[in-house]
């Protein structure tokens, strides 16, 4: 156990890819927490998907020991956080467990949208902030300019910003000294009832659910019985430990410390992030404020390509959900796609990550249907229904009005591309709220419907700005608008999985675009296929996919039989992966691609 004055707890926050995980590597290495031979890049990004994509998805905690220049021994708990907006929730709850933040800014890039979002959260959490200018080894590094930008745009003092190369190790010692000198020690009372914050929890196949805790007051001891205050459940603590970053068992954790406990908990769902853990008897009388749970904002259907794999998909989804409370699912039946699940995600990257894991770790090929946001449908009788799936849209005569989620989007972009960005936001029904400048970079704030952003907004933004824009958003609430359900009919049969909610004024244009897209995506058949978009019973757009006229191999003699047969068998297998709607085969990627807009 360490006395409070010698503990420092901090999170490392930054825009995506500015070097948080690499900085964590250097801190771990410099303090000798991990032997050099066990070191690898972005050591804390241990999930396959993290390593493959080079990004952090889960926040990670590490305890390191540091002997400062003043000769004193300190215990530092660092939390490396993800940069991507979908996982902003990981950042916000991590911040609640610590007193300070290292704000990493890539000195070749400057302040970006998530830099801002994170710094505001840090300020909200009353953090002491140490700015770090990273990547100074690169020729494009411009520390002075970026420091100035931090002061201008964020309004914090950057004169003491530490110049670091997380790659070469320059400035790491200074960073450690700054942590000890500038970040406050945690507060807390040892002789009080236990009050521990449940920061995070996940499933481990050996140990069951692992609960990450920050001790606020009191002492957590092995063998103790504790109470989870949100639901008053009692648990017997069988292990206590810290991450270095491998698990190391300890006998107790005192105020200010961060570590984990296990208590034979079977499901992540039995633990609530933000909960307060206390003694089973004579515990704390008041719980900590708690966190707002992460709400899925994007929903889509996941269906097995091979309908025989439905049960496998159910198992896989249940297993994944054990470990990811922000991911929700319910069974869905589609006339077109059969049995599957309607799943909710924090955003599109989260969706991709889960889909990837299902496909790879569980070897299930999936059809993903168009992502949709959650609409609030107000019925004539006053009832409000949450609509997760356009296919479930109630009968219009019973609907009074519909509200859709809106966001506040912050975009930073070099001046040259501002025009394109404004046009993009305008096209997506955005309402401009603010426009300011930091040097040659513009910062625009837009009020946008989430629906217009969820799908391909970020891709479009990247493409119109050649990758120079950064983007962050927060949900702001719901607002009524003139929204309708648009159905798609292929060969006169409605394909429920292609239904979408659209704004009335844009329905024709969207309908036309979708029909045109589908015309390209659906292969020609031996007969002509009408493709229509309709609202209610009214067709608003129509295309016709003409019949296949010629598809035959000109020469097929004795020597061609083998090759030709293999080719046909391959095509047959490909065809099997398509979905049949009546007599029409629709390729699985069509369900997503049909929605992508070119502008």
């Amino acid at each position: 156990m360490t006395d409070l004055a010698h503990i420092r707890n901090f999170s490392i926050v930054a825009h995506i890819d500015h070097g948080k995980s690499t900085l964590a590597d250097r801190l771990i290495q410099e303090t000798g927490t991990v032997q050099d031979r066990d070191m690898k890049e972005q050591l804390l990004d241990s999930m396959d998907i993290e390593r493959e994509r080079g990004i952090t998805i889960k926040a990670n905690t590490v305890r390191i020991d540091y002997t400062a220049d003043n000769g004193e021994h300190y215990v530092l708990n660092l939390i490396d956080t993800p940069g991507h907006v979908d996982f902003a929730y990981e950042v916000s709850r991590s911040m609640r467990a610590v007193e300070g933040s290292l704000l990493v800014v890539d000195s070749t890039q400057g302040v970006e949208a998530q830099t801002l979002a994170n710094v505001y959260q840090a300020i909200d959490a009353n953090h002491e902030i140490v700015p770090i200018l990273n990547k100074i080894d690169l020729p494009a590094s411009e520390c002075d300019r970026v420091a100035e930008q931090i002061e201008d745009v964020i309004g914090i003092d950057a004169s003491g910003a530490i110049r670091v190369s997380a790659k070469t190790g320059v400035g790491i010692h200074e960073t450690l000294e700054a942590i000890v000198k500038h970040l406050p020690a945690p507060k807390g009372t040892r002789d009080a009832p236990l009050k521990a914050m449940l920061v995070d929890s996940w499933y481990d196949s050996y140990l069951g659910v692992i609960v990450l805790v920050r001790i606020m007051d009191g002492v957590l001891r092995k063998g103790m019985r504790v109470k989870f205050m949100s639901n008053s459940t009692l648990h017997h603590v069988d292990r206590i430990g810290v991450f270095r970053p491998a698990m190391q068992m300890v006998d107790e954790l005192g105020p200010g410390e961060i570590g984990f406990l296990t208590a034979s908990i079977k499901q992540v769902r039995d633990t609530r992030v933000g909960d307060t853990i206390t003694n089973d008897r004579n515990g704390a009388d008041k719980a900590l404020p708690g966190f707002k749970p992460a709400q899925p904002v994007v929903f889509c259907g996941l269906f097995p390509v091979d309908s025989a794999e439905f049960e496998d998909l159910r198992d896989a989804i249940e297993k994944l959900a054990l470990n990811d409370a922000s991911f929700s699912y319910e069974m869905e039946t589609s006339a077109a796609l059969g049995f599957g699940f309607r799943c909710g995600f924090l955003g599109l990257l989260h969706l991709e990550v889960i889909r990837d894991r299902l496909e790879r770790e569980y070897d299930i090929e999936l059809i993903t249907t168009a992502p949709s946001v959650v609409y609030h449908v107000f019925m004539r009788d006053g009832e409000m229904r949450e609509l997760h799936n356009p296919a479930d849209m109630p009968d219009l005569s019973k609907v009074d009005h519909i509200e859709e989620p809106r966001i506040k989007a912050t975009i930073l972009v070099p001046d040259d591309y501002l025009g394109d960005v404004l046009k993009l936001c305008q096209d997506r029904r955005g309402i401009q709220q603010d426009l300011s400048y930091a040097g040659s970079r513009a910062m625009v704030v837009y009020d946008l419907p989430l629906n217009e952003v969820v799908f391909d907004f970020y891709d479009r933004l990247k493409s119109v700005t050649k990758g120079y824009a950064s983007f962050d958003y927060q949900l702001t609430g719901y607002r009524e608008d003139s929204l309708v359900k648009m159905s798609i009919l292929v060969n006169d049969e409605p394909v429920d999985a292609l239904s979408t909610m659209v704004h009335r004024d844009r329905a024709e244009a969207r309908g036309r675009a979708m029909c045109e897209k589908l015309k390209d995506l659906i292969p020609r058949h031996m007969f002509k296929i009408p493709i229509q978009a309709a609202i209610g019973g009214k067709v608003i757009a129509r295309e016709t996919l003409s019949a296949l006229r010629k598809d035959v191999t000109a020469k097929c003699y004795g020597g061609d039989a083998t090759r030709k047969k293999k080719l046909l068998e391959k095509q047959k297998a490909g065809k099997k992966k398509m979905r049949q709607f009546g007599k029409v085969d629709i390729p699985q990627e069509a369900f997503i691609s049909a929605l992508k807009m070119d502008s």
Binding site: D551, K555, Y557, G558, G559, A561, T562, K565, L568
Partner: protein, 385 residues
């Protein structure tokens, strides 16, 4: 019970892998060689024939086909030796068809009479186009005049002469093709192979196409029109399509190629040659090494066979379906279902019939002219998984 192959007959394919120049569209196993020791080739062919005959003794040989490459570069003695050996090793049908593929150059034409003397009774000439500029664009080394002259010589030497044309060439319009086809039919042919130009991977055209440099190829709709024109014009001249790309006066069909489409057995000898052989009730697919040198050495070492794969009943059914639907006479449903583990899907048959793609004519399943144009789709629909 009789083996399935007997419905199709038994033929011999001999591959000659050399050409004077490589055509830019061609993905056949053909090589340009400076010197060819034809004696060595004769020895190798004979050895292979003997090996095959020992496995398939007593079969009645219906046809021999010399394909290439350019078999008209073979010395007549080489051709005659192969024919003679085959006749020595197998009983042959009385009217055995012996075809040789010939390029329509003057040198080749000079050998036609000698081929005839050696036993060849049918010539198939690669004329490709009746337009000099197009011949050049196809990389051919002969002219229209030479082709016509070679054709006349062939006509004098052989009762049965066929030639090949390639259509849907660069900058060719449907009207131009119609005119050219009429010219071809005005010549005294009783058999024509009319191929839509196919851009094959790994050829010069394929590379150019991939780089977007092969310009002027007809649009899909034009190419489809040319296919229809081909059917219509040939039929009007009394040479209806008896296969996707083959047209003949009734009775003048290539009996050798019909063995493939009727899914008979065939021995394939020479580099890259494929065979289908039924031995002890099991049908095998055989392949030989592609490279001429490798094939010769492999023959010298005992066998020119690179691989022999036993075909499952499903494989055989798929092959029969894919070959049988190419010909106007179609396939025999009972025969197909005797091979296939699953019967043909009646719902699909009904739907295809409704679309006018197939005809069920008593025991036979036939692709209609319309169905043959989109045969890949029809086969995919009917093929069982």
């Amino acid at each position: 019970m009789a083996d399935d192959w007997q419905h199709g007959g038994f033929g011999l394919y001999v591959h000659w892998p050399f050409c004077q120049a490589k055509c830019p569209y061609c993905d056949f196993n053909s090589h340009v060689a400076r010197e060819i020791d034809q004696k060595a080739w004769v020895r190798a062919y004979v050895a292979e024939l003997e090996r095959s005959a020992s496995e398939l003794p007593g079969r009645v040989l219906n046809t021999i086909f010399f394909g290439g490459g350019t078999p008209s570069l073979m010395m007549p003695e080489t051709v005659a030796a192969v024919i003679e050996t085959a006749r020595r090793l197998w009983p042959t049908s009385n009217d055995m068809e012996i075809t040789l593929e010939a390029n329509p150059g003057s040198v080749e034409a000079g050998r036609f009479a000698a081929y005839h003397d050696g036993g060849v009774n049918r010539i198939s000439m690669g004329v490709q186009a009746l337009n000099d500029q197009d011949l050049r664009r196809l990389g051919r080394i002969h002219s229209v005049a030479e082709a016509r002259a070679a054709f006349d010589i062939a006509r004098r030497c052989f009762d049965r002469v066929s030639f090949d044309l390639i259509y849907a060439r660069q900058d060719q319009t449907p009207d131009a093709w119609r005119a050219e086809l009429n010219e071809a039919l005005a010549m005294a042919v009783d058999h024509l192979s009319l191929y839509q130009l196919t851009i094959e991977d790994g050829t010069a055209f394929g590379d150019r196409y991939a780089r977007g440099k092969l310009r002027g190829l007809p649009a899909d709709d034009d190419a489809a029109d040319m296919y229809l024109i081909t059917q219509e014009v040939c039929a009007a001249h009394g040479l209806p399509a008896y296969e996707v790309s083959n047209h003949a006066r009734p009775g003048a069909e290539s009996r050798h190629n019909l063995i493939y489409w009727r899914y008979g057995d065939y021995v394939g000898i020479g580099p890259g040659a494929h065979g289908r052989l039924t031995i002890g009730g099991q049908r095998y697919a055989t392949e030989s090494p592609l490279n001429p040198g490798a094939w010769l050495s492999s023959v010298a070492a005992g066998s020119g066979e690179l691989s022999r794969v036993a075909l499952s009943l499903q494989d055989q059914a798929n092959e029969y379906l894919m070959m049988g639907l190419r010909i106007a006479e179609g396939l025999d449903i009972d025969r197909y279902e005797a091979l296939s583990p699953q019967p043909l899907n009646r719902n699909r048959l009904a739907h295809l019939a409704e679309l006018g793609m197939i005809d069920i004519d008593g025991p036979r399943l036939k692709a209609t002219a319309q169905g043959r144009a989109v045969l890949n789709a029809v086969i995919l629909d009917l093929m069982s998984e």
